[in-house]
Subunit: 150 residues, 2 copies
């Protein structure tokens, strides 16, 4: 049944299917981002920043789902490339306010384009209805598992 002979114990387990397809997705995405010398975290922070406007690192962490400590390194990287700017918040000396620069915005649209192509590669075998259904199911799982905000 399976061309590669994957044991059915594995190939019928949803979590295995999920992590395996995610691994393929990661490879595709990271190849795409690699052409612009970026990694997942870079894109995710830039996208979050463009969505929320200037924000503290803690806010970026919350909105992007990336750990505070990883945000630090990511902002360092982006700052080194002048895609982002780090300013102390005059109103709260604990905080930095992160701004996306014009160059950052430009880079973000580049990244988005290569990522669009990557999605196409990833979802190639599915028709539009199936793609939408997949997205719907994944969103249901995701919101369910992150909602427990108690």
């Amino acid at each position: 049944m399976q061309p590669t002979g994957v044991p059915s114990q594995l190939s019928t387990t949803p979590s295995w299917l999920l992590t395996q397809t995610a691994a393929h997705a990661s490879r595709i995405v990271s190849t795409a981002l690699g052409t612009r010398h970026a990694r997942g975290y870079h894109y995710r922070v830039l996208a979050t920043l463009a969505d929320t406007g200037p924000a503290s690192q803690a806010d970026l962490s919350r909105h992007s789902g990336i750990d505070r400590s990883d945000i630090v390194a990511t902002i360092n990287d982006l700052g080194d490339r002048d895609l982002v700017q780090r300013q102390p918040d005059p109103a709260d000396r604990r905080r930095n306010i992160i701004h996306i620069t014009p160059a950052g915005r430009r880079e973000l649209t580049h990244l988005q384009h290569t990522l669009d192509a990557a999605q196409e590669t990833l979802l190639a075998p599915l028709d539009p209805t199936e793609r939408h259904e997949l997205v719907r199911l994944l969103r249901r799982l995701l919101t369910h598992h992150q909602e427990p905000r108690d």
Copy 2:
């Protein structure tokens, strides 16, 4: 729309949905396996071994999708716990023949049970039809992206 305020640029990207839900799945699964001091590779190799019968490490690698070098370490771990046995192949002195032991078989069924519960946790928000649909879509993606055996 999103309770956590995830930027829509992210939350509508299939690859992001996939990798995020996969991350949740991994957490759930690794917690489940952790109760029996196992990791993903351990289960996958045991399951493959039970499916194929005694096999060389190279065969295990091919059937499980785990790299040869990672198989080595995994077999070491399983061997240390007597869940598996490594014998030189008399007919081909390059190879080892890996056998699953009775204890290994018992451990495998334990792991399967905890994993069944984990799947239930993971898929809780989906009804049976949706679960089947999700599995179907993921399998399609997976076979498509691993088939290029050229």
